[in-house]
């Protein structure tokens, strides 16, 4: 089943590698070779030390919810059936923050401070998204 007209990430040259990794179920960010910072959004230079030397390195996928919203109004046909739906801001262990949906949320979730793990959601033949779900003890 595919969602009607689900908006998809734009595969520009800067972001294509990021989304190619996600499709392979890897969350990788740019890692500065000079100072060791991970960074997001994508940039040709380290925002801290300004080095142009970097490589795509995997992050742990673990993070914490540091903010959230819940949409009660439908802006996209693809999301209309999910109203109300949540969007979370996750601060990765490595520092950068990403926005995503929270899958498998329980009562009272999302909440600031919730520990989460990255998961992957295939939304079309070509596109997989990273998402997060509450980290639970197995």
């Amino acid at each position: 089943m595919s969602d009607p007209a689900r908006p998809l990430p734009v595969p520009t040259p800067d972001y294509r590698p990021f989304w190619d990794f996600v499709r392979a179920h890897e969350l990788r960010l740019q890692h500065c070779a000079a100072c060791g910072r991970f960074r997001y959004p994508v940039s040709p230079r380290c925002h801290g030390c300004f080095s142009a030397e970097w490589s795509w390195q995997p992050v742990s996928g673990r993070g914490t919810v540091t903010s959230w919203v819940v949409f009660h109004r439908s802006y996209y046909a693809a999301f209309a059936g999910r109203i109300p739906y949540g969007v979370v801001q996750v601060e990765l262990e490595e520092g950068p923050r990403l926005v995503a949906n929270l899958l498998d949320a329980g009562p009272g979730e999302p909440a600031i401070g919730l520990a989460v793990d990255v998961v992957y959601e295939q939304v079309s033949d070509e596109v997989t998204l990273y998402q997060f779900r509450p980290a639970r003890a197995d």
């Binding site: 908006p7 959004p41 819940v70 949409f71 009660h72 802006y75 999301f79």
Partner: protein, 386 residues
């Protein structure tokens, strides 16, 4: 080096839903009204500073061509409230330096013809890497309200505030609107009504979000000596400062609020945040009137804190104590704001500011209004005096 610029005239159409009127038509009406107010002639206008172009407004080139203007200084900014003061201060810089003698700042808005704000038709929100309000359509994160809500959730968490605190912003601005014949929302609003209104993007409710309307506004800027010979009392532009930007800035989030890639820290204003005051030789205590871009009620808090009218996290109490309403220590958005008057992007606030400083604000006139500040949560500001 100081600015030499004054508001020589203002013009504003009615605000409302006008699906049959083009943006060009709305802009033209506002421009003609401003010319009449200033006593100047179309031929005097040699500068054009446009905030908001197609499709929400009208582009400078179409406007100049259609009206038969001969412009030697044209500037056009993005849509959005952070470019209101920017377009105005650009006009002030142009006349101060002699790049132009008479600049028309023009804003037309045709929200009615656009449908909703946000969603699949929002090109800016679909920008690779994220939209200018933090939009990420693939996650259903869209619309300016989404970014404002994300910042509000975190601010609530850091400072122990909640939706009921936001109600007091909306209630205060509605109180101003009750004394403004131009306002579209002129029934009293209570905290209970605000709390009963539905969530749009939680934690923001319906009454935390501005109206969207159609209309046009125009301010005419000249050097002070020219404005002095105009029929209406001039309003001087004393100084200005620009929009802040960088990793510590997220469009609707105060510095240090931890949204996007911002740090986590309390952020009272620094020298950079108060440039316009320093340039004008004024401080906060000199401000009689405050005008700010209030697309969402929390932006009023964030702007109050940006300029240090209260400390980080103290804006909810500052508003709750009655400081921004009629009779308050710092009357804010005396027209009722975007929240209660209507949406001309903030140009309606500037027109109101001018009427107040001229002493022509009618029932809503704030006594002894001499110095006014336009200052936004994005850090830009313009200082005015009569």
């Amino acid at each position: 080096m100081q600015l030499d610029a004054s508001i020589a005239g203002i013009g504003m159409t009615e605000m409302g839903r006008f699906p049959k009127r083009s943006n060009l038509d709305l802009a033209t009406e506002a421009f003609v009204l401003a010319l009449e107010d200033s006593g100047l002639d179309r031929a005097d206008v040699d500068g054009l500073s446009t905030n908001i172009g197609h499709p929400l407004g009208v582009d400078y080139d179409q406007f100049a061509e259609a009206l038969g203007l001969d412009i030697r200084y044209a500037l056009q900014t993005w849509t959005h409230g952070r470019f209101v003061g920017t377009a105005l201060h650009a006009a002030a810089l142009a006349v101060s330096t002699g790049m132009a003698d008479c600049v028309a700042c023009v804003c037309a808005l045709g929200f009615t013809k656009l449908g909703q704000v946000g969603g699949p038709e929002d090109a800016e929100g679909s920008r690779p890497g994220g939209g200018s309000h933090g939009e990420r359509p693939e996650f259903g994160m869209t619309a300016p309200a989404g970014g404002a809500a994300l910042a509000t959730t975190r601010y609530f968490h850091r400072f122990g505030a909640g939706s009921e605190d936001l109600a007091h912003v909306a209630v205060a601005l509605r109180e101003h609107a009750l004394r403004n014949p131009r306002a579209l929302r002129r029934t009293p609003l209570t905290v209970a009504e605000h709390q009963a209104s539905r969530y749009v993007v939680e934690p923001l409710r319906l009454f935390d979000c501005c109206q969207v309307t159609d209309g046009g506004a125009c301010l005419i800027v000249t050097r002070a000596d020219r404005a002095r010979s105009c029929p209406r009392p001039q309003v001087r532009i004393l100084s200005a400062q620009g929009i802040r930007s960088g990793r510590e800035e997220f469009i609707f989030s105060p510095r240090g609020n931890g949204i996007g890639q911002q740090g986590d820290f309390a952020a009272p204003p620094t020298g950079k945040d108060l440039t316009a005051f320093r340039l004008a030789g004024l401080d906060r205590g000199d401000i009689d009137l405050f005008y700010t871009y209030d697309a969402f009620s929390p932006l009023v808090w964030f702007a109050l804190e940006r300029f240090g009218f209260c400390g980080p996290g103290e804006a909810p109490a500052f508003v709750h104590d009655g400081n921004i309403g009629p009779g308050g220590r710092l009357p804010t958005n005396t027209n009722g704001g975007l929240l209660s008057e209507g949406h001309l992007s903030g140009w309606n606030h500037l027109a109101e500011l001018v009427r107040q400083l001229r002493g022509e604000a009618g029932e809503g006139q704030i006594p002894d209004a001499e110095v006014a500040l336009w200052g936004t949560a994005f850090g830009d500001a313009v200082l005015f005096a009569r």
